[in-house]
């Protein structure tokens, strides 16, 4: 097998999650029309995550007559679909709507080309065989942005020296005086391995414009297609997903027994009337069981919503199209962390089965100034717990106007719809309700707080802190004022407690409690 990267097209929306949030829609469901617009021209695309589509150019390019016409065709189709998705949303949403299309040999070069394409709003086509020249001038910082395309640092690498993220890698490379991929490619592979451990090999390959993982030389294991045919058409969505779960476990176990993991999986769902939904799923780190099940769920939802199959499902088929050596995910022999992860996931699944998936949740970073909405709680079955990466720990630094550290340990959703935060009364020394005017000046100093008919004396306060959110969007605009209060329970033991009160539309609510 020749060690040459496939020529790919990368369509990338770097700010897709922000755009979806601005539109008030789920990242996946909003992305689906874009995927379908591309599928209209290119039958089998690889969907990695909301915001990224990749596909090999070979077939489609020949059909359309070259890479440049193909890229232009896809660009027009995506732009049209995007316009339909955004609709009449406010201008502000449009700032996140930039996308780029890059064509090159190898995924990294194509992803960097897509980034360049964003600025010119025209596709960037890197000539065949010129990917390493193109990469030579690109900054190594691109690694951080292309993590979805090339996979995490530790993927398939058991001993990743002292680097755990691309930020570490980039900072280390820059301290070594290697600013461009050309500088890295000029080094010997052995030196890179000496410095970066097993990741050094991947780095060397990426810098030279090759695919990260070398092609497999070992023979592929037999019987890799997992398929289930139903005797009677299945109408229930959950039943299909459960079957896919079963198949995915069988598939990943089978591959793991051969020391492999699939990076591309082809999923085919067929209805009784012969309607088919097929899609390729790509995950640079390899698709685990949960990732496959999630992909099937997404595909099934999109199929039901957009194509409305006329009968139940009769067949589900998973076939791994590309596998790589799985070196990094072996459980330690005598228990240890990996074992604990597995036990926890099993317990989570069991509880989710009994009490419903929404009763077990995991936090996911969302950002914002409202302490209750900074993290959202995602159903445990909607995330890949095996490969969970939660940002937020350091990202929160970027939010000006968020509640300063130390953070409150109990937070209540103060939006009027949720009704999650109790209404309270904040009074001044003369027992009149405290008012904050349009210029954020308080009518008096706060003196008392009433929570559930219990009176607290205000000992100290900080604020008022004005928070204006989404002022550009009438439907979601919020004008609130925050007050951090130190209160003492009247009559009982002299315990001082801290809380945050929020004023919105002349109603004070308890927003947070330092428990």
């Amino acid at each position: 097998m020749r060690d040459e990267p496939t020529r790919v097209v990368v369509v990338q929306f770097p700010h897709w999650s922000l755009l979806a949030a601005a539109l008030g829609r789920g990242a996946r469901s909003a992305f689906e029309p874009i995927v379908r617009a591309v599928v209209a021209h290119v039958p089998l695309v690889e969907v990695t995550a909301p915001g990224i589509i990749m596909f090999a150019t070979r077939g489609p390019s020949r059909y359309v007559g070259g890479d440049t016409p193909l890229a232009a065709l896809v660009h027009t189709a995506v732009a049209d679909a995007l316009r339909a998705v955004i609709g009449d949303a406010h201008q502000h949403a449009q700032t996140h709507a930039g996308f780029g299309i890059g064509v090159a040999d190898g995924r990294l070069a194509a992803a960097i080309a897509a980034r360049h394409s964003m600025q010119t709003s025209a596709p960037v086509v890197v000539p065949s065989g010129a990917a390493h020249h193109w990469l030579a001038d690109a900054s190594v910082r691109a690694l951080v942005e292309c993590v979805d395309v090339i996979g995490a640092v530790g993927a398939g690498v058991p001993d990743t020296a002292d680097v755990s993220s691309y930020r570490d890698v980039v900072s280390l490379l820059e301290r070594l005086g290697l600013y461009r991929f050309g500088d890295v490619a000029a080094l010997r592979e052995a030196d890179l391995i000496g410095r970066f451990g097993a990741f050094g090999r991947d780095l060397s390959r990426l810098a030279r414009g090759l695919d990260r993982h070398p092609p497999l030389t070992a023979p592929a294991p037999p019987d890799r297609v997992c398929m289930r045919q139903f005797d009677a058409p299945v109408e229930s969505r959950d039943a299909v997903v459960a079957t896919a779960d079963e198949l995915a476990v069988g598939l990943t176990d089978h591959l793991a027994a051969h020391g492999l993991v699939a990076v591309r999986v082809h999923v085919l769902i067929e209805s009784d009337h012969g309607e088919r939904s097929e899609r390729m799923w790509y995950r640079a780190d390899g698709l685990g069981t949960r990732a496959i099940v999630e992909s099937v769920r997404w595909q099934l939802d999109a199929w039901i919503q957009h194509d409305a199959p006329t009968s139940g499902v009769v067949a589900v088929r998973l076939s791994p199209e590309q596998v790589i050596a799985n070196t990094g995910r072996q459980a330690t022999l005598w228990g240890g962390e990996r074992d604990g992860d597995r036990h926890a996931q099993r317990a989570i699944r069991r509880v989710a089965d009994v009490n419903g998936a929404e009763s077990v949740t995991v936090p996911a970073w969302r950002g914002g100034r409202d302490p209750a909405r900074m993290f959202e709680f995602v159903r445990s079955d909607a995330v890949d717990l095996e490969r969970r990466v939660v940002s937020g720990g350091d990202a929160a630094v970027g939010w000006r106007g968020a509640v300063p550290s130390p953070s409150p340990s109990l937070v209540f959703d103060t939006s009027e719809l949720s009704n999650g935060a109790p209404e309270i009364a904040v009074l001044d020394a003369r027992q009149r309700p405290l008012v904050v005017n349009a210029r954020h000046a308080m009518s008096a100093e706060p003196a008392r707080v009433l929570i559930n008919d219990v009176v607290y004396d205000v000992v100290a306060w900080a604020g008022p802190w004005p928070v204006e959110e989404c002022w550009w969007d009438q439907r979601r605009a919020r004008r609130t004022v925050r007050l951090q209060l130190l209160v003492r329970d009247v009559g009982s033991l002299p315990v001082t407690r801290a809380m945050i009160a929020v004023l919105e539309r002349s109603v004070w609510r308890l927003a947070a409690w330092y428990a």
Binding site: R350, T361, V397, P408, A421, V454, A462
Partner: protein, 230 residues
Amino acid sequence: MGRTPVRYGVGVATDLRSHLGTPVVRAPLPIAPSFTPLFADGGLVRGRTVACTGDAALSTALALAASATRLGSWLAVIGVPQLGVGAAIEAGVAIERIVLAQPPRASREWVATVAALVEGFDVLIVAPPTSLSAHDARRLQTRVAARQSVLIVVHLPPPLAPHTRLAPHAPQVFGADLDVRADTVAWSGIEQGGSHITQRMVHVRVSGRRCASPREATIDLSCATNQRVS
């Protein structure tokens, strides 16, 4: 005739233990250095129940669980849907190993759910429902002891529940091995209108039946670990 006195107890106990098979004693779960002097065992002994009370109960519970999660243990927070994740991160909890569960409030179902979670989690922070019976609580503790997890029971201070006011002293259904009382003694940084809370000093007192003599200390909870969100 010099008869050697029989020392009752030692041999019998040893025989019994070898007969029944000693449970594998696993090392206590690590805790943050600022809390180590308070715990005679140098960590959270597996299989035990710790009750956290006082106005800083939840923050203290998170701080106690933090070190273990960073070394690979999973943490379940049960019955606290309003958990401030920012506070958990600041306490040093590894956020990729925290899971929140909201089991049904009925005593029997609640215990069944938590018992299922005990199987997979090393540390569980639970805010028990008022309906929980002492019998069900004991059953859960037995399971925790068998699975060698650590159960941290948090009694959230009023007015936590938005519409039902809890009794100031909720009945202790759990027979805790350790009682951790955490009361804030000083908030600094906040004044009459200016600045904001920058530091929280908490007086922590550890007592209970597994604690020979109560230990206490005043801890700066806002920097119990060096993780800061902003």
